[in-house]
């Protein structure tokens, strides 16, 4: 069975931040929480590259490994979701996540953390599918409606892909062949510059 994956094509992302806006609007994400962000390398320099980053729904998710109350669960399709009723807002998942995906709304004074909030791949949470409670806690459940995450579906340059990992890989492979080479944005030269 294939796994659901995000992939952002750095050669195509134009840093328009429409994915961020679409996510916030679709899921009515509270102020101060960004489930998705656009990160730019060498901003302002010719040849700058941007990618859109959210929860990558890791196969071996570090957030799941460190959660002291085990509020995370993983679906058969690889989506990493969590139960906000179990979350104690400790912040361990935030420190463990290499993408900074878990976010915390400031619910009260003195910087007290609320329940953790993160990208759900538009798959909601453990409440009844499409219920008001689910929407309030986790945002819209587009997967149950047969739709894919809105951030990817509305990407104007089709830089952000989301869905069945095999199909996503096929789409990206065709692009790479068409371009005549593998992009070096995140390649060897970037990791080990001379």
């Amino acid at each position: 069975m294939a796994r659901m994956k995000f992939l952002c094509d750095a050669e195509r992302c134009i840093e328009c931040n429409a994915c961020v806006t679409a996510c916030k609007n679709e899921n009515e994400v509270p102020w101060g929480v960004n489930r998705r962000r656009v990160v730019t390398l060498d901003d302002g320099v010719p040849g700058e590259k941007s990618i859109s980053v959210a929860c990558m729904h890791c196969s071996d998710a570090p957030c799941m490994a460190v959660c002291p109350v085990d509020c995370f669960y993983q679906t058969a399709d690889g989506l990493v979701l969590h139960d906000k009723d179990l979350c104690i807002g400790c912040g361990y998942c935030f420190y463990a996540c290499p993408f900074g995906a878990p976010q915390y709304p400031q619910k009260s004074a003195f910087g007290t953390r609320g329940k953790m909030d993160k990208c759900t791949f538009c798959a909601g949470g453990p409440e009844a599918d499409g219920s008001e409670e689910e929407f309030h806690k986790y945002g819209r459940n587009r997967i149950a409606e047969g739709k894919l995450p809105l951030c990817a579906e509305m990407c104007s340059t089709k830089a952000l892909l989301a869905g069945d990992g095999d199909v996503v890989a096929d789409i990206f492979r065709k692009r790479v062949i068409q371009r005549g080479g593998r992009p070096q944005t995140w390649g060897w030269d970037k990791a080990y510059p001379e």
């Binding site: 109350v69 459940n141 997967i143 579906e153 990407c155 892909l161 869905g163 069945d164």
Partner: protein, 69 residues
């Protein structure tokens, strides 16, 4: 007068106050999710949904061929 039965009765009554219902307690086990079951997991197993998502991915996010609207 024999006070033993009365004393025993008093002890039983006192201990009754210490009763704790353990049925509602969820015991923690490392790396075991014990929250609510997500109905989406069962829904994904139904035939058709995965195929619909796959078709939608190809229709919406794949490159358009020349001449395709």
């Amino acid at each position: 007068m024999n006070r033993v039965p009365l004393l025993l009765l008093g002890c039983v009554a006192a201990l009754a106050g210490c009763y704790e219902r353990v049925g509602d307690v969820v015991l923690h086990e490392p790396h075991v999710y014990k929250g609510k079951a997500d109905p989406l997991i069962a829904r994904m197993e139904q035939p058709g949904l995965r195929e619909r998502l796959r078709e939608r991915l190809v229709a919406v996010q794949a490159e358009r061929e020349r001449g395709q609207p």
